[in-house]
């Protein structure tokens, strides 16, 4: 009953094995192999379950070729005005959305940039992301946001996703765990521009956007000294991050410049988790001779510190003055309101993307990494205000 697809013979047919569950035949007469055509599903009533309009749909609706449609859509000059209008109208009518996958493949450009951040629970990174989008979107790029969750493993997975998505560029802020950089240097090997912001790691020759952490820390600690504090501790961040080292150095330099002794036991390092912040806070407060002020490497740490101090009924700022870093919105709301160093968040995001776009759009030639250092602003609130002088 099986007929050869060529000669139509029925007798010269022999079975020729089963491949992936499908019976195949061999016609001795024609010396050819074949299998019964896959029963092309009795034309499922044109209900392709999902089908979005393509330029081919527009083309056949108007009886023109798809290259004409393509040219009309991208506003190429050499196209008849009427044709263009017809195409544009039909595109609206059929609700055409260009297939970014196909477009990216054809142009080897995805018009997508990747953003890697450690977290976005605190509003710090969200503000930066918003700034980044404000520059990226008008320039025709959209963004993929990856959250590394302060985990190096996740961060590596993120870089792979971005690499696989063929993003045109990446801006990133590393986790507190990140010490190796191979996963980031892959971007460079693949020729994908990378800009680091805020939390950077050394050893990578890329553009960078940061705030003047040393200066900020120096200002914060100096303010504490001016408030009369003499035994100032530092709840420090991971030292693999430049941000951690710079703020520590700012703290040290401020003490030194004001002739205050440096006491190693007043410097504790935390790993960016709230639990660790609490542990470190307790360690400081449990010292035989506890500090009269603490400069925390960031606001989340300072806030945990305030909670610990409050639970011990330590009066703030009378017994303990506190300064944070970042100006999280919560810092203004907590009691007592936290003195902190504000950073120009959306400007960080904007600048990072500007650097990135510059590098993406640059034709050929080596790219000289750029760097921008933004200033912080000391916001004085209750948590550090011992003298009755009001904050101006």
């Amino acid at each position: 009953m099986v007929k050869c697809i060529k000669c139509g013979d029925v007798d010269a047919i022999a079975k020729a094995g089963i491949v992936r569950g499908k019976q195949r035949y061999y016609c001795k007469r024609c010396d050819c192999y074949f299998s019964q055509p896959t029963h092309a599903e009795p034309e499922a009533p044109a209900l392709h379950r999902r089908h979005q309009t393509t330029i081919m749909d527009i083309a056949s609706a108007l009886n023109i070729s798809k290259s004409t449609v393509s040219r009309a859509l991208q506003g190429h000059s050499d196209i008849n005005a009427n044709t263009r209008k017809a195409v544009l109208d039909m595109a609206v009518q059929l609700d055409y959305q260009p297939n970014l996958l196909a477009l990216g493949l054809a142009r080897s450009r995805s018009y997508t940039i990747g953003i890697i951040v450690p977290e976005f629970i605190n509003s710090f990174f969200p503000y930066i992301i918003i700034g980044a989008q404000q520059v990226a979107n008008p320039a025709g790029y959209h963004v993929i946001i990856c959250q590394s969750n302060e985990s190096l493993e996740t961060e590596i997975a993120n870089t792979q996703v971005l690499l696989a998505s063929r993003v045109d560029g990446v801006i990133a802020s590393v986790t507190g765990e990140t010490k190796t950089l191979e996963h980031f240097s892959k971007f460079q090997k693949a020729g994908i521009p990378l800009v680091m912001f805020n939390r950077i790691c050394e050893g990578l020759d890329v553009s960078k956007v940061l705030v003047d952490d040393h200066d900020g820390a120096y200002k914060g600690v100096t303010h504490l000294i001016q408030q009369g504090c003499r035994r100032i501790a530092h709840l420090a961040g991971p030292q693999n991050l430049q941000i951690g080292r710079e703020r520590l150095q700012g703290y040290l330099d401020a003490l030194r410049d004001h002739n205050l002794p440096i006491d190693e036991e007043l410097i504790v390092y935390y790993d960016l988790s709230n639990a660790s912040a609490q542990t470190c806070a307790r360690r400081l407060l449990d010292l035989p001779q506890p500090p009269d002020a603490i400069f925390a490497v960031n606001d989340p740490a300072a806030i945990q510190l305030l909670l610990v101090a409050k639970s011990r009924n330590i009066r703030i700022p009378a017994e303990l003055a506190v300064v944070g870093f970042s100006n999280e919105p919560t810092s203004a709301l907590i009691d007592p309101a936290l003195t902190t160093l504000a950073q120009p968040l959306d400007e960080i995001g904007k600048t990072a993307v500007q650097f990135l776009l510059q590098e993406i759009e640059q034709e050929e030639g080596p790219y000289a990494p750029m760097q921008r250092i933004l200033k912080t602003e000391l916001i004085i609130r209750e948590s550090s205000l011992r003298t009755k002088a009001r904050p101006s």
Copy 2:
């Protein structure tokens, strides 16, 4: 001086127009058109600026065909174990990353899901997003996060990007402005599953994940009544959102069930912006007969309200008790700490994606939308605790 590329004749050549800046010619003898070959740039020293490894690179390195490589990489069964190993090793050696663009194009599946949220400055949506990723990533999907910024216009732009990116599905929470739904029904027309969570709009036959807003509001207001409050106001949300209506209704029902009068002037509507929250708070506090308690539709509003009350030296909760909704982390830190209704955020995200994946992976056949309503939990803190009874 121009020679025909075929016959080599020089005399029979005529100009034949300029296409995109390039002179073309016509040979009368051969009846053929041609242009001077583009001066194939003297082979830019193989410095392709950017080139990521493809399966073709692996194939030619091993001298096998690309289909074999493809099968090896996707762990197809009918492939020789040695071949597979060789391919896998070479893939690592060449640092191969599959091109998701090409893959998505070939399979008409992007393995990407879109998430649309109004904002992610407050930690509410970030927690939901994290929950969503926890389900999506292990299932082999990655996510594109879009922020509508509480703007309908941006929301529409977001849907277009997702449509163009050919996402396999979308979970969304609408803006306070959203009243029309065409942009969302486009997903349905294109056969792209959609799940709404938290802030939904009616009129769309899709799966939904929400919390029991009515019940939550009822519990919050009942708690205020139990604390002895009798003139309870409601700082309500936009009424185009079901969430806004449900919470209002819970408030009304609680009053009614406890035989308290309903006073229209005690209900004010805000548009989800902080500025509007402050205006509404002032309006309530300026009433000739101000309320002794306020139930706010969410925590950000309650927090703004607390700020306004504090600036007027209104004692909380003695003169004014306050209850919020959402349990933002800040609510626990502010002074006085805010009584609020906690929602199982990551569960919202997880459930939404579970519904979505179910719909994506379902073969053919109509899909019956599902719905899950999660419970809230009343967290009693200082802002509402008038009686000295301690919160249990």
